[in-house]
Symmetry: C3
């Protein structure tokens, strides 16, 4: 498969203003460093100005204020990074969906699969499930009974969706994703854990992407909810009864414990963890490796990673952390004594 576009054709589809040769043809997008003469590149950070000067690219996407930094054919955009995303999607269309159900797929009674959907080999779809128009269910996926998946979903191989979960349009779920497994609900009773049945569902809005091997547990009583436009990286853990607000992005290996609510437009860094039963406001940014142990009521940026150093230095320094309280008391004592001395004079 090979596509090519003139700059003028790109701008006609995506907007932006062309400077220089509008008939320049590009077939792929690439970084400033690796782009070839038949490729278009982009400048989103002035750090890379040096690379712009020597790029072999045939065309460039850049911002208005950078319009004159190159004489290459170029498209001017008010958001070059988003424009890059759109051009890349134009030059790299998804493989065409071949509608139909592979003969090795097993379809439960009463399941309704849209005629335009594609169900790959060895898929198992439970009773009463619904798969929307133009959705693609990759090989080996398991879709539980009564699950509803909207239109244009793209489930890569080996995704599991447990029974009764409800998923909107345009879901992308990568391989190994597990949606709707039981939340971790146990009650101690005379020395043994009793299982608390997890009778809620997972409810996912439109336009959500979920990275490889991420797990989203079903609710204990009520539902776990992922709102529209949420984007999750790989190996994210969403516990039962969590709600993730619309357009929040969560980086790899982060986790949100049970019954917590994360606001809209939050950014959660890799390996960050949010404890259970807290509420995070909208527009909160949490740095990677940060433990959020209580609610955050105010938008802003929050951090909590321990700064690394050479192991010998770390050992020397870390020792004191276990005696910090004592240290503070010693400082207080010094202050008092010094006050005495000063007042003595």
């Amino acid at each position: 498969m090979s596509v090519s576009y003139r700059l003028s054709e790109i701008a006609a589809q995506l907007g932006g203003r062309v400077l220089g040769n509008a008939d320049a043809i590009v077939t792929q997008i690439a970084s400033l460093e690796t782009a070839q003469p038949d490729q278009i590149t982009f400048l989103t950070n002035s750090r890379y100005l040096g690379q712009l000067a020597v790029t072999r690219a045939g065309a460039v996407i850049l911002a208005e204020q950078d319009a004159d930094l190159t004489e290459l054919p170029r498209i001017i955009s008010d958001n070059p990074y988003a424009y890059f995303a759109r051009v890349s999607a134009l030059l790299n269309p998804l493989p065409e969906v071949k509608p139909g159900i592979h003969h090795s797929a097993i379809i439960g009674a009463g399941a309704i699969i849209d005629a335009t959907a594609s169900v790959a080999a060895t898929v198992v779809i439970g009773e009463g499930a619904k798969i929307g128009a133009h959705s693609v269910i990759g090989e080996g996926c398991s879709i539980g009974a009564n699950v509803v998946i909207g239109s244009r979903a793209r489930l890569y191989p080996r995704v599991v969706v447990y029974h009764d979960c409800l998923i909107g349009d345009d879901l992308i779920a990568h391989s190994g994703v597990v949606i709707g497994a039981d939340g971790f609900g146990i009650a101690m009773d005379r020395g043994r854990w009793l299982k608390i049945p997890q009778i809620g569902r997972v409810v996912i809005g439109n336009d959500v992407e979920i990275g490889a091997n991420t797990t989203i547990d079903r609710g204990a009583l009520d539902d776990t909810v992922i709102e529209d436009g949420v984007k999750m990286d790989n190996m994210v853990m969403i516990a039962h009864n969590v709600r993730i607000g619309a357009h929040t992005a969560i980086a790899g290996c982060a986790g949100v414990a049970g019954s917590s609510t994360v606001g809209r437009y939050c950014l959660i860094g890799g390996m960050a963890g949010i404890t259970g039963h807290v509420k995070i406001a909208d527009h909160v940014e949490i740095a990677g490796f940060t433990m959020i142990s209580k609610s955050i009521t105010e938008a802003g940026s929050y951090s909590g990673g321990y700064p690394f150093s050479k192991t010998d230095d770390w050992r020397r320094n870390a020792l004191h952390l276990r005696r910090l309280d004592e240290l503070v008391k010693r400082i207080k004592k010094l202050e008092k004594e010094l006050d005495c001395i000063k007042s003595d004079k």
Copy 2:
């Protein structure tokens, strides 16, 4: 499927004392906030007293000391949370197991599958494996050669159990669980890593639950052991030759490194990590996000997460951590000097 019970019937099965209308009928369990008149709810925390006053529930489970806080039909239990778990199980029975082997399953020579067990589509069961009575092997599971799984196991879709592992009764394993993959054993030899064959097994007791995408590695020489009643959340990592004591509960994304032993009735928080070759006593509680870097010989609660703050504040504070040792020396110097001054007087 729909079930309904009178309070008197529930108490007859599960114990507890009914107050008010013992003929009240309930069909589902729900939280104080969302319960409907045909549903039963529960009070386990005085924080929710306000919700009790306004709940629309038809009945309530509560403790003896709270018996008079509502006039709704109610069941009094000495452990309302455990009682809630039992009532929920009563009202939400698991779907009936349909015994039999799906025609698309592939069963190895000499494998013994109990006639009451259920083996779903596209399952692969290795040579000589044994599946016990009433066990359910979900679609796409892979059970290795000579694996033994006891009675009433419930393996959700896409669980993998490597060869020779030994599993007791009543296992619940959620999708994506991998039991018995090779432990991480390598030996450096003249600039290259040699693989150390992992010839131990995973041995799992009775009544264990394992969350989605959790991995439990087989032993290098001896076995990795999960004792009775252990409960694990999603994406827990149990390395080779670890032993987890009976009735210990491990929250999501926690990990235990190679050859460590965790005691009985421990509680390990989410994203906590236990280093290799250490021993954790019984009844130890480890907070989430805590790194356990050495053995713990005494029961109790342990923590080690770094407290988060606004990023600007964090940056200012964290800087000093790399110079804490120097800071302590400055305090010592101050103390000495002050002592001098005092003794001078």
Copy 3:
């Protein structure tokens, strides 16, 4: 399957010097503590000298300087731990590969599968993919279109490799591994995230092992690269456009964020995290639970875990971390005041 070797036969194959009865026969390798008279054990750490004295093993592997510590038949090696790995491989040969394609496997048009390779039940192999000699593709694996996998690969059940990825010889990939899923690339555009197509590949060298449920994302524009001899434990997360240098070993649940480069012969501890866009030098050792937030240019050992303590102590100490900057200012003030007092004298 049962194998047995005389010490003389082992030494003939693997080198080393036999002391004592070279005709002693061993059938398995075991630890000092559990070894039986027909088994060989090894001493790699003087900590275990006490166990050597009482071991029931029939033979021992040990270092030159320890040659006289036992009278058991023994093999002297300059690297007993590596020798143990080799002996274990000798005594525990992998099950023989039965070449052929299971009738339930689905093979795409134009895929080339070596006649000596083994493709298990329910495998799906995409169009144009190539599987090399003596490779084993476990049940339920999904190999994308145009993927190339070299010789002697061993993919355990349920591994997914997305389209176009390129893998060298001798790969071991454990169950649940996902290679080549989309990296986490999104661009904000007027309140919505746009997906950035991930058009790079994953390129993996020779002799790489990847633990269960580990994910390695494909590159955004260029490739994600895993060099020769890299060893990864379970649930490791390698983000897009990362490069991992040859012979680096990464323990469980560690992660490397986008576009970072890790050098050769690095050791990365469990749950450690490396932020995006940094460069780690060769021969760097990173302790478990350490957040690497900037580049490391010098070989050596680095740490950053927060030391745990009893929760009450931790609470008292951790409080001060949020006011460390203020504390340092108080110390500065004390120093100044003391200086004044001293100069006053």
